[in-house]
């Protein structure tokens, strides 16, 4: 990889020790295994401010994280964040991240550090209590979520 320009970055976000919060990391691992041309994959467990640097120069960034809204567990949400705005009713700060994802993205927006296209694939969490395993509903949603990320990656980004 010479320049990220024109490439897509997939960022899996989550705490591997907090139940469904690890789903973002699991989806990122699945994307890494696919080894798609033009796609880089990264996992962030703690310091979400780090994203403001690592996504610099990418045409498109796909964030994958657990979210909480009123939908059934395992629902896969696709949320366009390029405007730096959050839809009402979705709380992406349910996890244990020290700086919530919402703060990191709003700050990036204020500082002019948002990538041209930023999309969140959010998987509705059932439980983020201490423990390693995904809930059955979230586990069952993995193929849909991976397919959604993959579909986003297949759209060629202009440079």
């Amino acid at each position: 990889m010479t320049s990220p320009s024109g490439r897509t970055l997939v960022v899996g976000i989550g705490n591997p020790w907090r139940g469904d919060d690890r789903v973002g990391l699991e989806i990122a691992a699945a994307m890494r295994a696919l080894d798609l041309d033009g796609v880089d994959v990264l996992c962030v467990a703690d310091d979400l401010l780090e994203m403001l640097d690592v996504w610099h120069g990418y045409a498109q960034v796909v964030l994958v994280d657990a979210v909480k809204s009123d939908s059934p567990a395992g629902t896969v949400h696709r949320i366009e964040l390029s405007a730096g705005a959050w839809p009402v009713g979705v709380d992406a700060s349910v996890s244990t991240h020290a700086v919530p994802l919402t703060t990191a993205i709003e700050l990036a927006h204020r500082l002019g550090r948002l990538p041209r296209r930023l999309v969140l694939i959010g998987v509705e969490a059932e439980s983020i209590t201490t423990g390693q395993g995904l809930s059955p509903a979230v586990h069952a949603s993995m193929p849909t979520a991976v397919a959604d990320v993959r579909a986003l990656c297949s759209v060629r980004q202009g440079t």
């Binding site: 709003e106 700050l107 204020r110």
Partner: protein, 430 residues
């Protein structure tokens, strides 16, 4: 004022962890101040019992995502003291370099993102970025420089995994160390600019007379070791810590409260370190402190933000000085042979002294562990500050008092998760 009133902050923002603050005010003055820490205790000291001595650095690192290096350093040094392990000078230098990285990360976050919004009259860092883009960008750059050090020495920027009893699992090579110099030179200029910026903030008119406690080393600004000293005459080796400082339980907090035996609350952290060690600062840090008008002792707790900025200058200079010597250990770690022993260590975490004690048995298993984190030590001091701060401002409306109290708590950059052992502010007027 005739009515009793209460001021509450149900959940304090811009601190690490979960806590609340409640003040009860009446015609007689401030009746009660409670800094409640309701984050559940995590029983780390108990779960260390029966584990192998070499597991302590990685287990205790998990106490805090902001200062894992401090936990690792206090843990390895206490165990090395128990087992009579001597580390070679380049290993010590690399540990000190790593600690500089953590100070940069932690102070950059607190100064630019958590505390500065109070002084600039904005709600949070997002609003701050709208009025002072460069200040926030500078904070991100400084934090990134700290991350870079941690990535080289610790194996990754958060929750480092390369520290072990006796040294490191793997020592960095010269090329990795050399690559840190450019970013740190830029960070030094950024840190100096931040000292100059925060020195111009408006500080509330407030001074306290308290005992400062910090480490003191014969030649260095304190990081990894030194004697425990205070502004009221304590000067003891770290293994005498328990003889001089006591911890007690209070009903409103899952964190223990610490006090100087037969005396009272005391303060650890940047203002304490500077007040006791200003003569040990590196040249640019000392010059920046002078320009900022800082003199020991720092009696206005609100000026701690300036001290943190000065300590960022120190961390950059110290890191660059260490890098110039290109520390190259003959082996990454000294050999360790477990045997029964008791060891103590204290290091200067970003928020102040972090004291660890371990007793190890013949099989190398930990028989007992005692961890005294900085926020548990500062908690009674924070309550004392709040009582004095509010007493002088009883005529102010609740909202102004609530804001002032939250800012006063943030003077200490409390890490409630570490202390769980934090924050909601309540003011009750009766």
């Amino acid at each position: 004022m005739t009515e009793r009133r209460s001021i509450r902050v149900e959940r304090l923002a811009r601190v690490e962890g979960e806590g609340a603050l409640e003040l009860v005010l009446s015609a007689r003055g401030v009746e009660d101040v409670k800094l409640s820490i309701f984050e559940p205790p995590r029983f780390f000291e108990a779960l260390l019992r029966g584990r192998r001595y070499d597991e302590a650095p990685d287990i205790t690192a998990r106490i805090c995502g902001i200062c894992p290096v401090a936990y690792q350093m206090s843990a390895v040094q206490a165990i090395e003291a128990a087992l009579g392990v001597r580390v070679e000078a380049p290993v010590r230098a690399l540990r000190r370099l790593m600690y500089c990285g953590e100070w940069l990360q932690s102070h950059a976050l607190h100064v630019h993102m958590l505390h500065a919004p109070d002084f600039r009259g904005v709600h949070d860092v997002i609003e701050l970025a709208a009025i002072d883009h460069e200040f926030v960008e500078r904070g991100l750059r400084l934090k990134k420089a700290g991350n870079a050090i941690l990535a080289v020495l610790g194996g990754r920027a958060i929750h480092p995994i390369n520290v072990r009893v006796g040294g490191f699992h793997r020592a960095p090579d010269a090329a990795q160390l050399d690559a840190l110099r450019g970013p740190l030179e830029a960070a030094l200029a950024d840190a100096i600019a931040t000292v100059d910026a925060v020195a111009g903030f408006d500080f509330p008119d407030f001074d306290v007379d308290c005992e400062f406690v910090a480490l003191r080393h014969p030649t260095e600004y304190p990081l990894n070791d030194g004697r425990i000293v205070s502004t009221r005459g304590i000067d003891v080796p770290v293994h005498e810590h328990a003889a001089w400082f006591a911890e007690r339980q209070v009903p409103h907090s899952t964190a223990l409260h610490a006090a100087v035996r037969d005396a009272g609350s005391y303060q650890v952290g940047p203002s304490a370190r500077f007040s006791l060690n200003a003569d040990r600062l590196t040249p640019e840090a000392a010059a920046a402190a002078r320009r900022a008008g800082l003199e020991p002792p720092v009696t206005n707790p609100f000026r701690s933000i300036v001290v943190r900025a000065v300590e960022m200058v120190f961390a950059c200079e110290e890191a660059l000085a260490i890098l110039a010597t290109r520390p190259s250990p003959t082996r990454p770690a000294a050999p360790v042979l477990p045997h029964p022993g008791v060891g103590h260590a204290a290091t200067e975490a970003p928020r102040g002294i972090l004291h660890h004690t371990y007793a190890i048995d013949a099989d190398g298993l930990i028989r007992s562990a005692r961890i005294v984190p900085p926020t548990a030590q500062n908690q009674p001091r924070i309550e004392d500050d709040l009582r004095a701060f509010v007493t002088a401002r009883l005529d102010q409306p609740d909202e102004a008092l609530r804001k002032g109290c939250e800012q006063a708590v943030r003077n200490y950059d409390p890490c409630i998760s570490c202390a769980t052992h934090f924050l909601d502010v309540r003011i009750l007027r009766r």
